[in-house]
Symmetry: C2
Subunit: 142 residues, 2 copies
DNA sequence: TCAATTTAGTTAGGCGACTAACTAAAATCC
DNA sequence: GGATTTTAGTTAGTCGCCTAACTAAATTGA
């Protein structure tokens, strides 16, 4: 059996979708004063404030180095603050600022809007099916 | 109806999948001596050699600026060559080198391997369903 | 014909993401 | 208790990707 590849593969469809999703998302996020990637960080901080950098790294599935420079920028832009932990002087705890909270409100709206765009025209059953299949794919990658 | 968001949304699943897919892909591609993103360029060149930069930009859905620096690097690493077009001195034509062709052979194998990983455990019908749903999502984004 | 506009690419600078090499602090172990 | 190892983060450097500003060449249009 000849395998699909290139243009027609699921892999390529995913790449295309992510490219477009990211582009659309970035346009909207820039209106909230943040950059793509920072939204996820603010999401996790809004779930639990004052986490360590390592904790965020684990949840966000990114490298320490990535988040490190990201936090420098986000502190500079006033979205978060970083406080050294006294009980363990290696670690820093990250807190979301009021400005960050305001930004996150916009982010939540943007995510909902993005989701609506993505699933436009799909009925509940199709959404469920897609969700299940994507979960299977994700599992395959982990 | 409460909308799904955050962790459980299709948008988030797609982000997760793409992150993992990209990571896995990058590991394999680095063994072929190229970086993520360069594979797609070599793919389009292998389909049609000697294209203009604009032509590649259109197919790859990226900005001229992105491909411009990318081509500088890929010419430096010996994957492609760039030749000024005499009939239109604004344009350059991009050619894949022998080394680039060798790299592409590896890329094709990597893509097939990636596809296999992605769809592991899904039967033909599920693959078809997923493919159709992803196409619908992609259409929603365009 | 010659100025104005469009088109093709490049350069500069910023962000997310990565690896590798590093510092500093905590934990472990002899 | 002191040396070794592990853990937490940072810094430097590379890439892909983007926007904005720029150059140069082709096209259009009065």
């Amino acid at each position: 059996m000849k395998q699909k590849s290139g243009q027609t593969s699921i892999s390529n469809l995913l790449v295309q979708i992510c490219k477009h999703r990211r582009n659309k998302s970035n346009v909207l996020l820039s209106e909230a004063g943040i950059y793509g990637g920072q939204d996820i960080l603010l999401y996790y901080l809004s779930i639990e404030d004052g986490q360590t950098v390592s904790s965020l790294v684990e949840k966000m599935c990114i490298q320490q180095a990535t988040i490190s420079t990201m936090l420098v920028r986000m502190q500079a832009s006033g979205m978060i603050t970083k406080v050294k932990d006294n009980s363990d002087k290696r670690t820093s705890r990250v807190f979301i600022t009021e400005q960050g909270k305001e930004a996150y409100k916009k982010i939540a709206k943007i995510w909902n809007a993005m989701e609506k765009v993505l699933i436009k025209g799909l009925d509940n059953e199709q959404q469920e099916t897609l969700s299940n299949l994507l979960r299977a794919v994700l599992k395959n990658l982990e």
